[in-house]
């Protein structure tokens, strides 16, 4: 079992927050050649979960994947270059923000079609069991994903075969602007999943540490053959569903709801737990990493049009 490492948590959290803020800052220049779904507000989940993982564990994510990727300690430069659509990007610009992947950190794939990578994660877990491999599969998805039938088909198979997989539902309560209450009767993701034979728990924390603890326990249980587990992680998306903007003008949620979330920002809390000097060092280091990554991306070239039809078939 791992222990919660506050400094590491702060550092990853800060990295994600600053990267997303940089995206917002730069977006108007049109240098980023991709729609972006920002993770600001949802960092505690990704950071908490990632700190509980081993190198061998495998991640499946979705279009809102920056936090998942960075918390996994993916390659910052390649991610930025990918957003810029440059050849130095992790997929030479073909993927963009919505389809990040990077096998060097077992960050498998991210789909822009909601819930569509969920069965892939389950299939990967099947292959882990088949091959007696060690890593646990982590499947990040939103609360909207559970509206899709394929989600329940996938869960059913995972529990039938007792596969080594942790589902991490980031419940920010909305699918775009539609509240969960308009999509399902009752607040029942956990009970639904339980009824499919999946051990399921809600994590109501706003603290990174709470998500870490839950994930750490779960991963440990899965490694001890508990079968698959679902964590419903309550969280909040601070920006608009897509793009760099805010969404208060759309009036689909109360200002208070959002303000409360912002007030409880765990970044401040984590910062308060570390000594000032370390904070400064971490911030400086990360700020310069991000600047380097942007410079790296600006310096890289665009792919040539003959690349369009490369890598369609293997």
């Amino acid at each position: 079992m791992k222990k919660f490492d506050v400094k590491k948590a702060y550092s990853l959290f800060y990295l994600i927050r600053k990267s997303e803020e940089k995206i917002i800052e730069l977006y108007d220049t049109d240098k980023i050649k991709s729609p972006v779904h920002l993770s600001i507000g949802q960092e505690p989940v990704a950071v908490g979960v990632s700190l509980a993982l081993d190198k061998k564990d495998i991640i499946f994510s979705n279009y809102r994947g920056h936090a998942h990727y960075l918390a996994r300690e993916g390659n910052l430069k390649e991610m930025w270059a990918e957003l810029y659509g440059k050849v130095a990007g992790s997929s030479r610009g073909k993927a963009g923000s919505m389809h990040l992947s990077d096998w060097s950190v077992n960050f498998m794939t991210t789909s822009a079609i909601v819930a569509t990578a969920v069965p892939e994660a389950v299939g990967y877990a099947y292959s882990q069991k088949y091959q007696n491999n060690e890593g646990v599969v982590i499947c990040y998805h939103g609360d909207g994903a559970v509206d899709e039938g394929v989600y329940w088909e996938s869960i059913n198979f995972a529990s039938l075969h007792q596969l080594p997989i942790l589902f991490v539902c980031e419940n920010n309560k909305y699918a775009i602007y539609t509240h969960q209450d308009k999509r399902m009767l009752g607040d029942s993701i956990v009970s639904r999943a339980n009824s499919f034979g999946l051990k399921s728990f809600r994590v109501d924390g706003i603290r990174t540490e709470d998500f870490f603890n839950a994930a750490n326990d779960s991963i440990n249980n899965i490694k001890n053959n508990s079968g698959p587990i679902l964590l419903e992680c309550m969280t909040s998306r601070w920006r608009d569903h897509v793009g760099p903007g805010e969404d208060r003008h759309i009036n689909f949620r109360s200002d208070k709801e959002l303000n409360d979330a912002i007030t409880n920002d765990d970044l401040k809390n984590l910062e308060s737990l570390i000594n000032k000097e370390d904070v400064v060092t971490i911030q400086k280091d990360i700020d310069s990493q991000i600047n380097d990554a942007i410079k790296y991306s600006e310096d890289s070239s665009f792919p040539g049009t003959k690349e369009i039809t490369d890598n369609v078939y293997g």
């Binding site: 991709s34 610009g93 073909k94 819930a115 608009d240 897509v242 792919p303 369609v312």
Partner: protein, 346 residues
């Protein structure tokens, strides 16, 4: 049809829908986000405020069931319109559309009918990548029992939507994101654009250009560029893809003897293949060719994306070559406001 108003494509869809909802209580509109402030590019904006939530409502992300639910409601006497933000999502609906909607009438020997309209937007703008950019009109053309329309002008958008709603059969109504801002004159009243009739948008004698949905605008722009070098290109907008107006295309082909079909999708087994096959079978001595999406998924980065899609330039170059012109000729940069001015974020 006296009172014409200058409105855009999105507004034309909204107007057709609104008026037919006023006209017929059984019409309702559903889909992800149709009742949010954006109202699917304005096309369903605030309809719930006027007609109530039962006639314009948001749904869970359940494309498969929501298609069957539309079919069931249609069996129950209603006229549902299911709106999709991306045509890519129709891949989740194939079982319901092909195995049920297209077949219920036939299997009941004419007792059932399924007056369902499925509106689906082709997602192109920029950076949409492999899963938010696809067009599947040819999938639905393939299957007997479904109709397909892909209007290009605001006039046809309104008239086709009304005709689709009134049609007894399931209709796939193909929209294109880069068309919403297209402006044109549109009659104020309710009217139908008849299915199975195409339009010659520009008359010409040297070559026939056939587009689909947004690529019709590529053809128009190409024809203007070609005109400057003395080539007279006829531009055809089929409007209705199933049934399709083969006669009109054949007639033009027999006149110009050269046909370039510019698909808004992949070529293999697509709309362009169909049109060319028909001409190959039914006409003689034609020069035929086709263009469309390149043979790959759609890349995200802009430079590659620009090469992936047909463009007025690439259409003009190919047409010029087919007409015996210099293959190194390039048209002056042709402006495409809707593409260049698009700023995202999505």
């Amino acid at each position: 049809m006296d009172n014409l108003k200058e409105i855009n494509y999105g507004e034309a869809i909204y107007e057709g829908c609104y008026q037919e909802m006023e006209n017929d209580d059984s019409v309702f509109v559903y889909g992800l986000g149709v009742d949010d402030t954006k109202g699917h590019y304005g096309t369903s904006k605030d309809l719930h405020k006027v007609f109530g939530a039962k006639r314009n409502f948001d749904i869970p992300l359940s494309e498969d069931a929501m298609t069957g639910i539309g079919i069931g409601a249609a069996l129950g006497g209603l006229k549902p319109i299911y709106v999709h933000q991306r045509m890519d999502f129709l891949l989740l609906c194939m079982n319901q559309l092909v195995n049920m909607a297209a077949k219920l009438r036939y299997m009941s020997s004419g007792v059932h009918s399924v007056p369902l309209v499925v509106r689906a937007a082709i997602g192109r703008s920029w950076g949409q990548g492999a899963q938010h950019s696809q067009a599947f009109h040819s999938y639905f053309m393939h299957v007997p029992g479904i109709k397909v329309v892909a209007p290009t002008t605001p006039h046809d958008a309104k008239g086709c939507l009304i005709a689709s709603i009134r049609d007894k059969n399931p209709v796939i109504f193909v929209e294109h994101r880069m068309l919403y801002s297209n402006v044109g004159y549109v009659p104020e009243e309710l009217y139908e654009v008849e299915f199975g009739k195409g339009r010659v948008l520009i008359e010409g004698t040297d070559i026939t250009l056939v587009g689909v949905s947004y690529t019709v605008t590529d053809c128009i722009r190409a024809s203007l560029a070609l005109k400057e070098i003395g080539i007279s290109a006829e531009v055809i907008d089929p409007v209705s893809l199933s049934p399709i107006d083969y006669e009109l295309i054949r007639k033009s082909a027999n006149k110009t003897k050269k046909v370039l079909v510019v698909d808004n999708g992949w070529l293999t087994c697509g709309f362009a293949a169909e049109v060319i096959a028909d001409l190959g079978i039914n006409c003689k001595d034609l020069d035929l060719d086709r263009m469309g999406y390149l043979e790959s998924p759609c890349p995200t980065t802009r430079v590659l994306e620009d090469g992936f899609y047909p463009s007025p330039e690439s259409v003009a170059i190919k047409a010029n070559t087919m007409c015996g012109g210099d293959s190194n000729w390039k048209p002056e940069n042709i402006s495409r406001k809707e593409i260049n001015s698009f700023k995202g974020p999505f």
